[in-house]
Symmetry: C2
Subunit: 466 residues, 2 copies
């Protein structure tokens, strides 16, 4: 029996019988199904969940949670499994509640710039659904994640520098609480002072306080003009300093992504591109034609000041898609550059003025270590990711990567930053969270968790140790 | 003994002695001091707190809360007393913790567009302090409130349509918890997925979960160009429809305020202005000169389509200040229009497409009732305020105002809105909160409150009944 079939926490027979009766063929204990729900894009391994329920309605979720609660068995919400921090891993056993069939777009309120979807709708599906309205949903973490998962991890991505993160863009939620009750938080009004902000408490709670079943988010008018550009730089430092200046001048750039020369090479190989193998910034400008022109001119001027060259423009949707697809495939390009490897991703985010200090020292450390890595960053937000490419069968490589990450996080915290800009704490950053927030704040989180989930059935073992 | 001197909840003598020993002349039980801390801008009356502590440091706050906790005595945080919902009223007795002396601007990080201040700093003081950096803090609820109070009520105001509310603009907090522990939430990084969003939970918690002692907020570059304009309309409906179209077209207007003809008349009298006594929109545009010009032209075109006339521009800072001061004085202008009256303020906020439905029917009802009122609105956010001007000695007038408010809130909730866009629940909207959020969500709030404040000492009796 290997790690992935071993059942550390078998379900009580009475619970299996009750789930089977309630869910019939929406319930599965087949190994292949469980294994699909027992892994994500992280480098962690754990035994798969004991069973999977494919919920098709909020009532399904409520009933699954209630049954699990009767037997004090863990419930792990599952969307499409793109977590990078082990959020969906059944480390304490239990039932994976797969909401991917809950994929209805329920209400497009174009006149209010809002849309309400079931938790299993993915961001690409959402954008397809609202396309004809002239609106779009900007949050783009790269992966085609579900809105439920993006809410649960407070995701962001390439557009956040202009449009914010899930924190700013979720207006309202429907959630099944740990007791199996259906709760609604927030309204479609743009602002509210009506009691505790349960919406923001649940956004980023990583499935530990309930299962998100419905999400209402903001939409934005498709910009009249969009323009994307690539600019190569003689050094990472030059690219970073250009970014800092763009942000400090308040230029409303929509995207500004750093890709280091390592990663450019990997992306060229993977996506058959001929990008200059130097550090580059991939940028996008949104607005009226006049505003886009104005932004672009300013940015070109700043970049030139730091030795930026080869400003290449992509204004047709096809060219832009090609560039952004290459960016989004950086992770896979990197993984494929070292067959059999897994990536250990860092996710620090610091105030923009500290970005150079934080990033450049970490590049020096990574280079000195000899570990293969890729480096990409939502640098306009002060957020960047190293992906250390380790051989999962070599513990010393994992150890080295963890050491580099530890050093990076320590640096970011000393610069008033955070250990995780957008991936969440999951399994991996619990100690970092205590260093960052302090024992008092983490104990406040635990107190909330214990109060709202007294049996500790909601995705236990994530964010903090209880 | 009248209502304001009667002590329903005297402090234990041992607590008084302990507070006097710890705080000496920063502690007062003088009636005049207590009375200053026993009222706000709401129409409610309650006996004053039993004592006031003027805290000068976070440690002072922590010690006051700990001592109160030992005796299970309520703690009511106090800034400058501009609440409109009775937040500072000592309805269950206790100690007013006045943080107004904690008024240091602690760190201006201009290069990161952030500033950290003690909770007693007011928004005008903050803007004065950052003036030389070319940055500003846009949240403007009208009153010169403290940053602590604005955080506690999730305030917003005239600039929120462009810059968001305290929800979007508070990055980090220092808070004294109910147990007297000092907690830090958030960091200066622009985004984070590090655990539960305690910052957002505390923003809007109305002092019921702890005392906010320090606030880190975002700053924005002063716009290169600012232009303000007044436009009169033949009807409230025309002004509202103009607003809806501005928002739906995604024009990044910085302010768009409705003032009805009643209120224009009051403001003219109070501020010696000669505004045309018709419904008007007061607008402001921020951006590059080109962008401001573009926005203004579009808005003029839209307004003209709805019969808007007399577009008057104010581009000098002095002219703008005159206009916005008049707007901010609307409340006082209204109060003075009926000597001895108190205003019962409504605060509904609805999705922008529902604004006309919500507002126009409420105007008809208010007119039919014969009650004097003023009507102003942050209409770009779907938020507006009726102020029903009642004689506090005539219970039938209060009853009529409450009836109108009830009808308005019922309408707003049926239109997917909220009972309070920015003032908070306080004493007055507890039943509305249950109607809006549902018993399940309010019970989730109560569960959090009970867990984080088991003795119920933090501003008890606000937001919900425990």
């Amino acid at each position: 029996m290997n790690a992935s079939t071993h059942q550390a926490h078998p379900l009580p027979a009475a619970l299996i019988a009750a789930l089977r009766q309630r869910f019939s063929d929406k319930f599965s204990t087949a190994l292949v199904v469980r294994e699909q729900h027992g892994r994500d894009e992280s480098s962690f391994a754990a035994p798969p969940p004991a069973a999977v329920v494919f919920t098709e309605s909020t009532q399904d979720v409520a009933d699954a949670v209630k049954l699990a609660g009767e037997f004090s068995v863990p419930v792990i919400p599952f969307g499409v499994g793109t977590s990078l921090e082990g959020h969906v891993l059944a480390i304490q056993g239990g039932i994976s509640v797969d909401v991917s069939r809950m994929n209805q777009v329920q209400a497009i309120n174009a006149e209010d710039l809002t849309v309400t979807v079931q938790a299993g709708v993915t961001r690409k599906q959402l954008n397809e659904a609202v396309k004809s309205t002239g609106l779009f949903f900007p949050i783009d973490p790269g992966a085609d994640a579900t809105l439920g998962g993006m809410s649960a991890t407070r995701a962001s991505g390439t557009n956040a520098v202009r449009y914010g993160t899930m924190r700013e863009n979720v207006l309202a939620l429907e959630v099944v609480s740990a007791s199996g009750e259906v709760i609604r938080t927030g309204t479609r009004a743009k602002k509210s002072s009506a009691g505790y902000d349960l919406t923001r408490l649940l956004v980023g709670s990583e499935g530990t306080l309930g299962v998100i079943t419905e999400v209402t988010v903001k939409l934005y008018p498709l910009p009249e003009a969009i323009s994307a550009a690539i600019c190569s730089f003689p050094s990472i430092e030059a690219a970073v300093r250009t970014t800092i200046q763009i942000i400090q001048l308040g230029i409303p750039i929509a995207r500004v992504e750093l890709i280091d020369s390592n990663t450019v090479r990997m992306v060229n190989n993977h996506s058959k591109l001929q990008l200059k193998e130097e550090p580059l910034l991939l940028m996008e400008f949104h607005g009226s034609p006049a505003s886009v022109k104005e932004q672009a001119e300013l940015v070109q001027e700043i970049a030139a000041g730091f030795g930026g060259t080869a400003f290449e423009w992509a204004t047709t949707p096809e060219e832009r898609t090609r560039l952004w697809t290459a960016r989004h495939n950086a992770y896979f390009a990197a993984i494929q550059s070292r067959p059999g490897c897994r990536a250990i991703s860092t996710d620090t985010c610091v105030p923009i003025s500290r970005l150079a200090d934080c990033l450049l020292d970490s590049v020096i450390e990574a280079d000195a270590s000899g570990i293969p890595y890729f480096l990409v960053g939502h640098v306009g937000d002060g957020n960047f990711h190293f992906g250390y490419l380790i051989d999962p069968d070599k513990p010393e490589e994992r150890e080295l990567a963890e050491k580099l990450n530890h050093s990076l996080v320590t640096r970011a915290l000393s610069l008033e930053g955070t250990c995780t800009g957008e991936h969440g704490v999951g399994l991996h950053k619990m100690d970092f969270l205590v260093s960052e927030a302090g024992e008092g704040a983490v104990e406040m989180m635990r107190t909330i968790k214990r109060a709202l989930d007294p049996k500790n059935i909601m995705n236990p073992g994530k964010i903090f140790r209880l």
